[in-house]
Amino acid sequence: MDDDKVILKSLKDILRSKGYIVDTAETGREAIKKSEAQFYNMALLDIKLQDMEGTELLSKMHKETPRMMKIMITGHASLENAVKSLNLGADAYIMKPVDPEQLLEVVDEKLKEQEEAERMTEEKVTEWIENRVRKLEQEHYKE
């Protein structure tokens, strides 16, 4: 998501070249709408937007779609902002100007993390079910 069309297009192309499926949004509202309509693994958000503060967008998204990875792209680093963003649910923080190589690395890393998390969750659920079943069986056998 970015309010600059050229950047939007070029970044989309870069990510696509790596094999990702990319959707773009120019405003915060558009981004929210799209993320509600469809599940996305990750969102790249510019912290300064036309219609709302990046942090506002972030908290909204986190409420709606907590499982989506959110990476903030920002023009100026300040510890304050970083802490704030992370507290609001951002998963990573990148400084502008964004080096495409670096960006791709981070995206890759975060998606892997997500996968891990998913798998962990899956595993956990499976484990839990197994435990429950075992318990139930035990109880049944007792009777």
Binding site: D4, I7, S10, D13, I14, S17, G75, P97, D99, P100
Partner: protein, 617 residues
């Protein structure tokens, strides 16, 4: 007239009296004669003859009678004669008395006129003080219309009650000791007004020398009293002037001798009493040299009648004391100069201050010029700073706006590079030959550079919010060094005292500071060298110095290197040192550089220990 008449009258009556007196004598004489003749006749007639008459006359028994008869004639003539003489004597006596009385009356009236005409009041009283006689002047002085109103009163009625006691005593004194003179009393008028009078009194004695009357001559001295009061007032004024003025005031005669001086003069001369100066001259108190000058001035005034006004002259021998003297001539009624009066004021302090003022005004211009120069310099600096600030702002804005296009460029170049990589290998060789790959690589590098400039600019223009935390500088330095790529050819040494304390600094800023300085140092020594980092503590500040043995900085660049956008490096943005300066200034410190071309440079940062935090720099 009256007297003449009287005189003539008395003459006539005198003569008549004489005549009368002689006639009586003659008559008495005649009477005697007739008595005798008668007797003889009668005898003759009795006897008849003359012879008988004679016999008769001689008869002894009748002799006595006849003798007696006979004697009666001369007797009565004699008696008549003496009576007449006596009458004559009496008439003479009367005349003499008449004359004397006349003389007396004349002198009495003369005296009375004198007394009446006297301008002073003459009052005669008895020994109890009751007024017997007085003159017109008395009446006028005491305001009585006529003598009747005065005569009979006691003299004390004409004297104010407060002086009664004294008057009585003085009357006694006059009696006992003699005349009293010029006593002052407060006398009264008929209306009861008081006026001052001067009285002289004496006792008038009778023929036997016993006191009979008091005589007093009184003068109304009101006018004199007013004049005395005026005079006293004038004296007081003069006194006030003389003794209360801080200046020396002195009167001199035509020989320049002091006739009168005030206390200040006595002070200057070291006398305890101004009167001690009278009769002396300047030669008694000053050196020959000074006194001669004063004398010459004064004689000049006396000769020419021209005053000397506000002359400034030294008054003590070494010129340690200066006075301003004004001397003017004193003239008598005929206009002749009889002396001088002078006033001298000590102007030593005044003179000194005047000198100072003169000095000061002479230097004032210099001072003003200097100040103007300083002011102009400050103005220039201010303008420069303002200009830089404006440039900075603009640059920051521009940098900010450049971000997006640069980002786009980055992205596009990346894509371009990728596309080239994905060209099938058989076409690749042709593509590479055109050099397009290299082109993209270079373009990307340039974009990187541009990004760096923009980043640095943003950095530089951003307001600082420092957080001061006690930090170990050594630790920071080591951290910085580890982040930099230090070539083997550079030897690094850190010189610091053992227990170097932690200094309150902003950690990230200070790290940036060290990064910039160390990077510069390394860049200055592309072929290797010595990099020395020193830490020092003084009473008031912490000193960090970074020394390299690199190429050095030319003198003409030394004051430019801290300006933004100044760089001698092909790859530099020119913000490294300006950022360092800002960081140092945020810590209220200062950064200086010493450098020699070909030898190396030393950058010294000094941070004061007690700092006033500047929140934004």
């Amino acid at each position: 007239m009256k007297e003449d008449e009287k005189a003539r009258g008395s003459c006539v009556s005198a003569s008549l009296t004489k005549l009368r007196k002689s006639l009586v004598g003659i008559l008495i004489g005649s009477m005697g004669l007739f008595i005798v003749l008668g007797h003889v006749l009668s005898e003759y007639l009795e006897l008849g003859s003359f012879a008988d008459l004679l016999d008769h006359l001689v008869q002894p028994s009748l002799l006595f009678c006849h003798i007696m008869d006979f004697l009666s004639i001369p007797a009565s003539i004699l008696i008549g004669y003496f009576y007449q003489k006596q009458k004559h004597v009496t008439a003479n006596l009367e005349q003499i008395v008449e004359q004397r009385t006349r003389g007396l009356r004349e002198s009495e009236s003369r005296l009375a006129s004198i007394i009446a005409a006297s301008p002073d009041a003459i009052t005669v009283t008895d020994l109890d003080g009751n007024i017997i006689e007085c003159n017109q002047a008395t009446l006028d002085m005491h305001g009585f219309p006529s003598k009747e109103e005065v005569i009979g009163r006691n003299a004390l009625e004409l004297i104010a009650e407060k002086d009664h006691q004294r008057a009585i005593e003085n009357m006694r004194k006059t009696l006992d000791q003699g005349p009293v003179r010029n006593l002052e009393y407060s006398c009264l008028t008929k209306d009861g007004h008081e006026f001052p009078a001067e009285l002289s009194a004496s006792v008038v004695r009778d023929a036997l020398g016993n006191p009979a009357y008091f005589m007093a001559i009184t003068k109304n001295i009101s006018e004199r009293k007013w004049m005395e009061a005026d005079l006293a007032h004038e004296r007081d004024l003069l006194h006030a002037l003389m003794d209360n003025m801080p200046d020396a005031i002195y009167f001199k005669d035509f020989n320049s001798r002091f006739t009168r001086v005030n206390r200040r003069v006595a002070e200057w001369f070291g006398l305890s009493d101004p009167k001690d100066a009278v009769g002396k001259t300047d030669f008694d108190f000053y050196t020959q040299e000074l006194a001669s000058k004063f004398y010459a001035d004064e004689q000049g005034i006396i000769q020419s009648g021209q005053p000397v006004i506000a002359k400034e002259e030294p008054e003590s021998h070494f010129g340690a004391k200066w006075v301003s003297s004004t001397k003017v001539p004193i003239r008598d009624r005929e206009g002749r100069v009889t002396g001088i009066v002078g006033i001298s004021r000590d102007i030593t302090d005044f003179k000194r201050m005047r000198e100072k003022l003169r000095e000061y005004s002479e230097h004032l211009e210099e001072t003003v010029q200097e100040r103007t120069r300083e002011l102009r310099e400050t103005q220039e600096r201010l303008l420069k700073a303002e200009r830089l600030a404006a440039i900075g702002e603009t640059a920051a804005m521009v940098g900010h706006d450049l971000r997006n296009p640069l980002q786009a460029m980055s992205n596009l170049l990346y894509l371009g590079k990728k596309m080239i990589k994905e060209i099938p290998s058989r076409c690749r060789k042709i593509v590479v030959q055109t050099g397009i790959e290299e082109l993209f690589v270079n373009a990307a590098k340039q974009i990187e550079y541009m990004n760096k400039i923009v980043s640095d600019l943003q950095d530089y223009a951003r307001p600082f919010k420092p957080e001061f935390v006690p930090t170990s500088l050594q630790e920071l330095i080591n951290e910085t060094l580890s982040a930099l790529a230090i070539p083997q050819t550079v030897k690094v040494s850190i010189v610091a005292p053992k227990d170097f304390p932690n200094i309150p600094v902003d950690r990230s800023m200070t790290m940036r500071l060290f990064t910039n300085l160390l990077t510069n140092a390394l860049q200055a020594m592309p072929d290797g060298g010595q990099l020395t980092i020193r830490l020092e503590q003084t009473e008031s500040s912490t000193i960090i110095s970074i020394e390299d043995t690199g190429i050095g900085i030319p003198k003409e660049n030394l004051d430019k290197i801290f300006q933004p956008l100044f760089t001698t490096k092909s790859k530099g943005a020119g913000f490294g040192l300006p950022v360092c300066k800002r960081i140092v200034e945020t810590h209220n410190g200062s950064i200086t550089v010493e450098s020699k071309v070909g030898r190396g440079s030393t950058f010294t940062v000094s941070i004061p220990l007690t700092r006033e935090v500047s929140q934004t720099a």
